[in-house]
Symmetry: C2
Subunit: 342 residues, 2 copies
DNA sequence: GTGAAAGCGCTAACAT
DNA sequence: ATGTTAGCGCTTTCAC
């Protein structure tokens, strides 16, 4: 694009050496130069409309002040708040977030990772990935600075920040139990994700703790369609007397809504449904969704904080932060009712 | 971060000059070099795990292969699809999108714009802004390449891509008219935005065309709260016999839902509500929302296409693309019914 | 307190 | 077909 004005131009106008202009404009080095000179340089810079060239600076300083943020898909409503959280922490500190979407594809993720490396990002915030996260494993080996958010990978010692999912699921099961539900179905997330695993085992634990009969049905992805077809299969079998569905996330719960509706079942009249995440607009659904609020914005903030801490210190810390979650009771959960299935 | 391997390292291993490595690896210049050499260089590069340094390359070539994307707020659900659309066009062409959020604040927008300029973006896609868009006006003066999406600015000759909003509003009013609505309220968007203006005047035109009585109530922002409080005011007045609300977007319509519910009114039984945009999950609301589908993803694609075209040609074209929209009838619009308001 | 000079890693004339 | 050279715009050590 345009803007051809360089340090040298400013230096010429101010009648000083380019090096001096650099120092005068820097902030960190501003005190190394005569106050009067600083003013003169500033005036010249403003007059010319000087803007530093971030690529030249970055090349010289080996730092881009940019953080690579890798998410599966911005269209999944939990990610925008997370990205905004990240940005809200980075921006005041002079960093920017560069966000890329993998669509859950490992190949794409690898390519995007490389491309962010080429852009010389100063670190990564990674919200994708399986428990067996090959990319992160060798990112670690390469000495890359990163923090994982919402997901964890086994045996990869990056710091991570997640919600206290197990706690959330326990609260859900307790809530359902109080409403009299004794047979509960868990629409589990897809295999190979830490979120799926943690929520599922918390579900099992909570059920045996409250004495409820828990059944787990896995889904193929965290999506409306996957939730719908998984529940369709169960409902079509026509057996089982469960009265409540605990979905591993809100999208799955929405899929459950659809399936129930298709089968002429009322929620929460016939079957209660509880989601997970409290995604935006969850309270506006039909029925308003009972779910667990995950602090996505705060997760982003915390991840950014952890990463900048690493960047400042130059070393990885491998801490793992677990943020509190909260059950939000709305209209999709109600008293258990005996029900006959065709 | 790590990765200290440069062209020179590869050159040494391959036993050739750095310049040759550059050519061998480039694609555009690959044919200028002996095929055997190319292979040797490639092997050396792979063996060392060489990655080009984008800052060094960009500094030299004066191009960052990056597009700055300025949106108000990624948490507004119309933007993620737009961003994905942009990215889907850019990525295969070697470009990346750098997205920033202004939160509707002019000062933030200016700062972010400068920061993207410093990063040497090759062009802008701008989804923010008033009809009186000061920033864009002087961006134009600076010779910056940009396209506006979803919004237009008066007297600023950047290309723009929008939905055919006027057409959409006409279809809404016709739909309502067929359902027997004769008195219709328009919850207009905030003043100073092209979307607000276009939808409002289309509403007026459509009403007089169908002979319906149209009343316009402006809102303070495109948000749920603004929609709710604007309708609250009308409903609290207790006069007026409108039977339908045409909201300038889905968020406003959702606010209308809330207001209606607070006033003990049923939608669509007492009052029909129609939104605009067909944001994600609009069909899952209570009631499922009748709205106009704006092709946000496609708008992103088109904007990216237009911008890359400008970049390739080096000149601005000032075309204005209007993409088709479609009325999506769901459950929030129904037959007009006589109604008594307290 | 400021000037001089080198160099970050790359590409693109220009030579050969 | 490949080597040489210069330089993109900046920061930073080293002089003075």
């Amino acid at each position: 694009m345009s803007n051809r004005i360089t340090l040298a131009d400013v230096a010429k106008l101010a009648g000083v050496h380019p090096g001096t202009v650099s120092r005068a404009l820097s902030g960190k080095t501003e005190n190394q130069v005569n106050a009067a000179t600083v003013r003169r340089v500033r005036r010249a810079a403003k007059q010319l409309g000087y803007m530093p060239n971030a690529m030249a600076r970055g090349l010289r300083t080996r730092s881009s002040m940019t953080i690579g943020v890798i998410v599966p898909d911005l269209m999944n409503p939990i990610f925008p708040p997370m990205v905004r959280g990240i940005d809200s922490y980075l921006a005041p500190r002079g960093f920017s977030a560069f966000v890329v979407n993998t669509d859950g594809k490992d190949a794409a993720e690898r390519t995007l990772f490389e491309s962010l490396m080429e852009r010389q990002v100063d670190g990564f915030i990674v919200a994708t990935g399986h428990t067996d996260h090959v990319l992160m494993a060798d990112a670690l080996a390469r000495g890359v600075l990163a923090v994982m958010v919402n997901r964890e990978a086994h045996g990869v010692s990056f710091p991570s920040v997640t919600g206290d999912d197990a706690r959330g699921i326990h609260e859900v099961v307790a809530h359902l139990s109080e409403l009299g539900h004794r047979r509960i179905l868990h629409l589990a997330g897809p295999r190979g994700f830490s979120t799926s695993e943690i929520r599922e085992s918390a579900f099992q634990a909570a059920c045996s703790q409250t004495g409820a009969a828990g059944r787990v049905v896995p889904t193929s992805s965290y999506s409306i369609d996957a939730g719908q077809s998984a529940l369709d299969v169960v409902l079509d079998q026509g057996v089982d007397g469960f009265t409540a569905v605990v979905a591993a996330n809100d999208l799955l719960a929405l899929g459950a809504y659809h399936s129930l509706r298709m089968h002429g079942l009322d929620c929460p009249g016939d079957i209660s449904v509880v989601g997970f995440n409290d995604m935006p607009f969850a309270g506006d659904f039909l029925p308003p969704m009972t779910t667990v609020r995950s602090p996505h914005f705060e997760m982003g903030v915390e991840a950014a904080r952890l990463l900048l801490e690493q960047i400042a210190s130059g070393q990885s810390s491998a801490v793992s932060v677990k943020l509190p979650v909260a059950l939000v009771v709305r209209g999709s959960s109600g008293p258990a009712r005996r029900r006959a299935i065709s």
